[in-house]
C-alpha cells in the first residue's frame, strides 16, 4: 500500500516538508508491485486514482468553493480519448492528449459555466456531464461502434506507475496552487466573491484557471482507467458515481488541506476492502452513515480531526 505521506502533527504547511514527504512516499510506492501480488497492485492503482481525482477536484471546489458534481466529465473524456486512440497512438502521447482534451474542454466551457453559482453550479456541472455522456453515446452509435474491445492493453504494473505519477503530481499541484497567488485569490473568492473582485482579484480569470487545472489530471486519470477495461461501454466511462465519490472523499478527508484527499481516499479504500468482501451493501450503508457523521461532527474532515487532536488550528 502507498503510505499516506504525512499523518504526523499538523503545522507542516509553510515548510517544504509536505512536498518532500509526498515525493518520498511516491518513490517508496514504486516498490509496491515488487512486494505485493497483482491484486494489491490494482488496489494501489485505485487508491492513486482517487487521490489524483480528489486532489484535482479541490483546486476548484475546495479552494474556490464552486462544488463540481460533474467531474466525471473530464475523466470520461480522457478515457474516451485513450480508448479511441488505442493502438493508434503510443501511451505517452495518448495520456497527455487526454489531459489536453479535458483541459481544453474546461477552458471552453469555463467562463460561461463559472458565472453560475451555488446550487445552480452544482447541478449544472452534473447536467453537463450527463449531456456529454449522451452525446458520446450517440457518436458511438452513429459510427456503428457497439462497445469497443481492447486487446493487449498495458499490464497493471505499468498503469500503476503512471497513476502513481498522476497522484503525486496532483498532490503537488494542489499544494503549490494553495500556496500561490492564485490560491489566495481562489480562497478570497470562496469567502466573498464580490469583495474579492473589489480588492482586485481577477475573479473570472482565476476561476477559469482553477477549472482548467482541476480538469487536466482527471482527464489523464480517465485515460489510464480506460486502458483497464477489456470491453468499453461509454456508460461506464461517464458513471456519475465517480463524481459523487470524489466529493465524498474530499469531505471525509477534508478539502482545505492537501493532506485531506490522501487521507479521505485512503480511509475509504481501507474501509471498502474491509467490508466489501463480505457485506457490499453494508459497506454502502456505512459509507453513507460516515458521510453524514463527518458533515455533522467533523466538517473539516479527517484533517480537521487530526488538527484538533494535535491542539490548536493552523
Amino acid at each position: 500500500m502507498t503510505a499516506a505521506p504525512t499523518t504526523t502533527a499538523p503545522g507542516v504547511t509553510g515548510t517544504w516538508r509536505f512536498p518532500v514527504a509526498t515525493l518520498a512516499a511516491g518513490l517508496f510506492a514504486i516498490a509496491v508491485p515488487q512486494v505485493v501480488g497483482s491484486y494489491y497492485v490494482s488496489v494501489a492503482l485505485t487508491l492513486c486514482m482517487w487521490i489524483a481525482l480528489t486532489q484535482s477536484w479541490t483546486i476548484l471546489s475546495g479552494m474556490a468553493g464552486y462544488i463540481s458534481l460533474g467531474h466525471v466529465v473530464f475523466y470520461g473524456l480522457g478515457g474516451y480519448v485513450s480508448v479511441v486512440t488505442w493502438q493508434l497512438l503510443p501511451l505517452w502521447v495518448a495520456i497527455p492528449l487526454a489531459g489536453l482534451a479535458a483541459g481544453l474542454f474546461a477552458a471552453i466551457i469555463g467562463a460561461p459555466v463559472l458565472r453560475v453559482r451555488g446550487p445552480y453550479f452544482v447541478i449544472l456541472t452534473f447536467g453537463i456531464a450527463e449531456l456529454v455522456k449522451y452525446i458520446v453515446i450517440n457518436v458511438e452509435a452513429t459510427i456503428a461502434q457497439a462497445g469497443r474491445l481492447m486487446f493487449g492493453t498495458p499490464p497493471v504494473t505499468i498503469l500503476f506507475y503512471v497513476m502513481l505519477g498522476l497522484a503525486v503530481g496532483a498532490t503537488l499541484l494542489a499544494w503549490s496552487v494553495r500556496r500561490s497567488r492564485l490560491g489566495a485569490g481562489l480562497i478570497a473568492i470562496r469567502e466573498d466573491e464580490p469583495a474579492a473582485e473589489t480588492i482586485g482579484v481577477p475573479v473570472v480569470r482565476y476561476k477559469t484557471y482553477a477549472y482548467i487545472l482541476s480538469a487536466v489530471i482527471p482527464g489523464m486519470v480517465g485515460a489510464v482507467m480506460g486502458l483497464r477495461l477489456t470491453y468499453v461501454e461509454v456508460l461506464q466511462l461517464f458513471n456519475p458515481i465517480i463524481s459523487f465519490t470524489i466529493v465524498t472523499m474530499a469531505i471525509i478527508g477534508g478539502s482545505d488541506d492537501a493532506r485531506g484527499p490522501v487521507l479521505g481516499a485512503g480511509f475509504l479504500l481501507v474501509l471498502s476492502e474491509l467490508l466489501w468482501s463480505s457485506l457490499p451493501q453494508l459497506y454502502m450503508v456505512a459509507l453513507g452513515t460516515l458521510l453524514v457523521c463527518f458533515v455533522l461532527f467533523a466538517p473539516n474532515g479527517i484533517v480537521g480531526l487530526l488538527a484538533r487532536r494535535g491542539g490548536g488550528r493552523r
Binding site: Y39, Q145, V156, T230, Y231, Q236, W276, P280
Partner: protein
C-alpha cells in the same frame, strides 16, 4: 517442558485428525457479482442460481470431485458493477483465496474482462450471461460461452422466421446501448436481404421515459412486424405505451425483458404474443427433461420463476462445471481438456464447445403464450407454433 511436549502432541493429533478430514475440506468456488451498482438488478437472477446450486450440492452430499464427494464453499466479492474491478477480483480469488474453481461474473463486459485473467493463470471458467459477437474474438482456451445469442445469428434467424410468416414490412427501434446496437447493425441488412421493407429504423436513448412520439410514428407506418431492440427498462415502457397507443402488429419483438419473471406478472394477458430472444424453456420436456425440475426447485426457493435467459445460462454453466469436475477432479489442465472436448448434458440439452462457442444450441425465439414462454423458433426445437398477436 512437559507443557511444550503436550502441546506438540496435541498439535500432531490435530494434524492427523485434519488429514483424516481432508475429504471434508470444502472445495472453494469463487466468483464476482454485481451486488451494488447499475447491474445489480440484472445480476440478481444469476446469484440466485448460484445459491440454489450450492444448496442442491449440499443436499446431494457434496460435489463429486473425481468420484469423491466433497462439500463446497462459495467465495464471492462485489464488483460494484464496475468491469475494471472484475479482473483484479479474479486474480485475488486465484492467488489470495486460492479457490479451486471459478464461476462466471454477470454480463458481457465482465466476461470479457475475465477472459485474459483465465488465460494468464490457465484457470478454466465456464461463462454464462454474455452475448456479443465480440465474444468470438476471445482467444479460445480457458473460457467458454454456452449461449447461442449472437447478434449476427439472431439477425439471420429473425429474417428467416419473418419471411416464413409472410411478413412484408417492419419497424426497427433500438436502444443506443451496445447489445441493442450490435443487433441493429446485423438485423437491418438481414431483413432487407430477405425482402422485408424496413419502414422505420430509429434509435432511442437508454434513459427514455416516454416513447409516445416514436410509437405514434410506428403506428402510422402500419407495419407487419415491430422489432424493439430493447433493454429491460425500455421493454417495460414499450409494453405500457404500445397498449395505450394501440400498436396492433401481428409480430412484436422485444430483445431483453420478457424472459424476466416480473415482466409476465406485470402485463398479464396483454403480454401474450410478445416474442423475445431465447433458447430455453422448461416446457421443452422431451428434449430437456431436467429443465422442469430446475424450474420447480428455483420457484420453490425464491418464490418466483427463473429468468429464462440468465438463470438458465447460469445453471447450464454450473452443470457443465460439475460434470467436468466429476470426471477430471480439480486439476486445472485436466479440467480444461474435459470442458473443451466433452459433451455435457444440461437443462438446455447437450453442450459441446467448438472454440469458445457452443455450436449445438441453435439461436431461437420465445413467445409468451397464455402467460408461459414457449419456444417458437427454430422449428426443430419448438414447443409451440408462433401465433399472431
Amino acid at each position: 517442558m512437559f507443557k511444550k511436549l503436550l502441546t506438540t502432541a496435541m498439535a500432531a493429533a490435530f494434524t492427523v485428525a485434519g488429514q483424516a478430514n481432508a475429504a471434508e475440506d470444502p472445495v472453494k468456488i469463487g466468483f464476482s457479482i454485481s451486488k451494488t451498482g447499475i447491474f445489480a438488478q440484472g445480476a440478481a437472477s444469476q446469484m440466485t442460481v448460484y445459491e440454489l446450486w450450492r444448496d442442491q450440492i449440499k443436499a446431494r452430499g457434496g460435489l463429486d470431485v473425481g468420484g469423491k464427494k466433497r462439500p463446497i464453499k462459495l467465495v464471492w466479492y462485489d464488483d460494484e458493477s464496475n468491469p475494471s474491478k472484475v479482473a483484479p477480483i479474479y486474480e485475488k480469488l486465484i492467488t489470495d483465496d486460492k479457490v479451486d474453481l471459478l464461476l462466471a461474473p454477470w454480463g458481457t463486459p465482465m466476461h470479457l474482462s475475465v477472459a485474459p485473467v483465465a488465460e494468464k493463470y490457465k484457470f478454466p471458467i465456464v461463462g454464462n450471461t454474455a452475448a456479443s459477437v465480440a465474444l468470438r474474438q476471445v482467444s479460445p482456451g480457458y473460457i467458454w460461452f454456452p449461449t447461442s445469442m449472437f447478434p449476427d445469428s439472431i439477425a439471420s434467424e429473425m429474417a428467416k422466421m419473418l419471411k416464413q410468416q409472410g411478413i412484408k414490412s417492419a419497424a426497427v427501434i433500438a436502444n443506443v446501448l451496445p447489445f441493442a446496437q450490435e443487433n441493429q447493425k446485423f438485423l437491418i441488412p438481414a431483413l432487407e436481404k430477405a425482402g422485408i421493407a424496413v419502414k422505420i429504423n430509429e434509435k432511442y436513448p437508454p434513459n427514455i421515459s416516454d416513447m409516445t412520439p416514436l410509437l405514434t410514428k410506428v403506428k402510422q407506418a402500419n407495419v407487419d412486424a415491430v422489432i424493439v431492440l430493447s433493454y429491460p427498462a425500455d421493454s417495460f415502457l414499450y409494453m405500457k405505451q404500445s397498449k395505450e397507443i394501440g400498436i396492433s402488429a401481428g409480430f412484436q419483438f422485444l430483445l431483453v425483458g420478457p424472459s424476466i419473471p416480473v415482466f409476465r406478472k406485470a402485463f398479464g394477458d396483454f403480454a401474450n404474443g410478445i416474442v423475445t430472444m431465447g433458447h430455453w424453456s422448461p416446457l421443452q420436456k422431451k428434449w430437456w427433461p431436467r429443465a422442469k425440475e430446475f424450474t420447480e426447485a428455483y420457484s420453490k426457493k425464491f418464490n418466483m420463476p427463473p429468468d429464462y435467459l440468465d438463470s438458465a445460462l447460469a445453471y447450464m454453466s454450473l452443470e457443465i462445471l460439475e460434470q467436468a469436475v466429476a470426471k477430471a477432479g480439480l486439476d486445472k489442465e485436466k479440467l480444461r481438456q474435459v470442458i473443451a472436448t466433452d459433451t455435457f448434458e444440461t437443462i438446455n440439452g447437450p453442450v459441446k464447445f467448438t472454440g469458445v462457442e457452443n455450436k449445438l444450441l441453435p439461436t431461437g425465439f420465445l413467445q409468451i403464450q397464455k402467460g408461459d414462454l414457449q419456444i417458437v423458433w427454430p422449428e426443430g426445437m419448438a414447443t409451440s407454433k408462433f401465433m399472431k398477436r
